[in-house]
């Protein structure tokens, strides 16, 4: 059952599930599409994440409880097909500052770590946190590593990191706690482009090792 809760006085958070799963993302994106198409009165914009969707609304136009009711009518009626699309190659140099640490902690060779990370397709679950930051999953469980105990103050744009069951790409320089294993020259955020982010939830990508 979806949970719909107030996120302040002008937004509702719809929580679809408590798991990270392609089908859950499919449902989130389907709800997002139907809300974009139907545009309930007073709905201003939506933001999606792994298993939830935030609705910004204008309380002068619609009451939060009424909007929640309208959203609720879509529950169980969405075509939550798992997104499929072409797979984008992300050329990646595996030379990140935490690669050696990952090798040591996993008891794998560097080559094996790279092969496990680059050897599968990833689904983009979320673009968020910072401009263009791209959250992907699922990582091979052998590579799962908690976040660094102390985050770095500066992580360069293009850094490829891992944290728990996820891998992700920093699109702009920012602080960050993920374990950095590589870097791409692909530009993931460009404020003069439309859309400004290279990836969107539901996209698929693959890391391609380069020298």
């Amino acid at each position: 059952m979806w949970q719909i809760a107030a996120a302040g006085d002008r937004a509702l958070l719809v929580t679809i599930s408590s798991t990270i799963d392609p089908e859950v993302l499919g449902e989130v994106l389907a709800l997002d599409r139907v809300l974009q198409d139907r545009r309930p009165q007073g709905l201003i914009s939506t933001v999606t994440a792994y298993a939830s969707l935030l609705c910004h609304y204008d309380p002068a136009v619609i009451d939060g409880a009424r909007l929640a009711g309208e959203i609720r009518t879509f529950e169980g009626r969405l075509d939550a097909t798992v997104p499929t699309g072409s797979v984008v190659d992300v050329p990646t140099r595996y030379d990140g500052p935490d690669l050696a640490d990952l090798v040591a902690k996993t008891n794998l060779t560097t080559a094996a770590v790279i092969e496990l990370h680059a050897g599968r397709e990833y689904l983009v679950y979320c673009v968020g946190f910072a401009p263009g930051f791209t959250y992907c999953g699922a990582l091979d469980s052998r590579l799962a590593l908690p976040r660094r105990a102390s985050p770095r103050a500066r992580v360069p744009a293009g850094s490829v990191g891992i944290a728990g069951p996820q891998t992700g790409i920093y699109a702009v320089e920012s602080p960050g706690g993920w374990n950095l294993i590589g870097r791409t020259d692909m530009r993931l955020f460009d404020q003069s482009a439309d859309p400004p982010a290279r990836f969107k939830p539901g996209d698929r990508l693959r890391f391609v090792p380069i020298a």
Partner: protein
């Protein structure tokens, strides 16, 4: 032209921000104290979308090369009159000094600050290092022009004292429970409302950390969710992080409550060491509080 003679501590160009682009990871941004910024624009007869300066802790000094109306609002600043329209004569320098009580002081110039619109806004976005004219806070020697975002005449008198927000610690801030209140124990929000939270030095336009040594809140873990300005996240160690205008668009900690829109200006003015107290209200009170501020903005002038 307007020339920055002294950039102050952290002075940025802001307007109403770029809400609606969170899906690209772009924070909504805009003036942290939206009410003081809107009042400054009203005082000089600007359109609500006009960009202005947000000064932090220590104000900026500006030299004008033609006669222009300006207004300074928000927190009081040394050496300058606030909440009143004034005319800067050609060649004159406007010096906004040390700021306080409160943290942020706004300087509106008639016509607005004319810098390029990036992704729908002139606001500086720190995380993306774009917007705000220079992709950074202002620096000594920066020059920009006043624009043409005019919506009427400057107001003839000072902003009514009764139509301003109280400026000073302790900051009484109203919240609405959620979205993750249910993931905490039943009395968590009540306990949060009963303590004085101290603003830590780790404070910027993205967010504010609050120290609450006596309060040990523990919420259920969540999967990363989209968040809003005013979201009060509780970290596993029980620390509170409250998001401000430039907040990350998603967060990985449960949100026990969210500050109402009408009280975001108060939160934005809290300084390190200040006290913040939260009080739970319902949506009806949040709406009334917002309409009250909107009414002040309409009535004046």
């Amino acid at each position: 032209m307007i020339e920055v003679v002294n950039a102050g501590r952290w002075t940025t160009i802001q307007d109403r921000g770029r809400p609606g682009r969170e899906r690209f990871g772009i924070p909504p941004g805009g003036a942290a104290d939206w009410f003081a910024a809107a009042a400054a624009n009203r005082l000089v007869g600007n359109h609500p979308n006009a960009a202005l300066l947000e000064c932090t802790a220590m104000g900026a000094s500006l030299r004008f090369d033609s006669d222009v109306h300006v207004a300074v609002t928000g927190a009081r600043a040394a050496g300058i009159e606030t909440w009143v329209p004034q005319v800067m004569a050609r060649g004159a320098t406007l010096a906004v000094g040390a700021i306080g009580p409160g943290l942020r002081t706004y300087v509106a110039v008639r016509g607005g600050i004319d810098v390029p619109v990036v992704l729908g806004s002139r606001s500086f976005c720190q995380r993306g290092a774009f917007g705000g004219g220079f992709g950074r806070p202002l620096a000594h020697g920066d020059r920009f022009a006043a624009g043409t975002l005019i919506d009427g005449d400057p107001l003839p008198t000072a902003w009514p004292a009764g139509h301003r927000l109280p400026m000073g610690s302790p900051w009484e801030v109203r919240v609405i429970g959620g979205p993750h209140t249910a993931g905490f124990d039943g009395r968590a929000l009540q306990r949060l409302s009963a303590v004085a939270c101290r603003v830590s030095p780790e404070l910027d336009r993205m967010g504010m950390r609050l120290e609450t040594p006596s309060l040990r809140l523990h919420g259920n873990e969540i999967i990363t969710v989209p968040i809003t300005a005013g979201a009060i996240q509780v970290t596993p160690s029980g620390e509170l992080i409250v998001s401000l205008a430039d907040h990350p668009t998603t967060g990985g900690y449960p949100v026990i409550a969210t500050v109402i829109t009408a009280d975001l200006p108060l939160l934005a003015q809290a300084r390190p060491g200040d006290t913040v107290r939260f009080r739970e209200v319902d949506r009806a009170e949040a709406d009334r509080a917002w309409r009250r501020l909107a009414g002040w903005l309409e009535m004046s002038g």
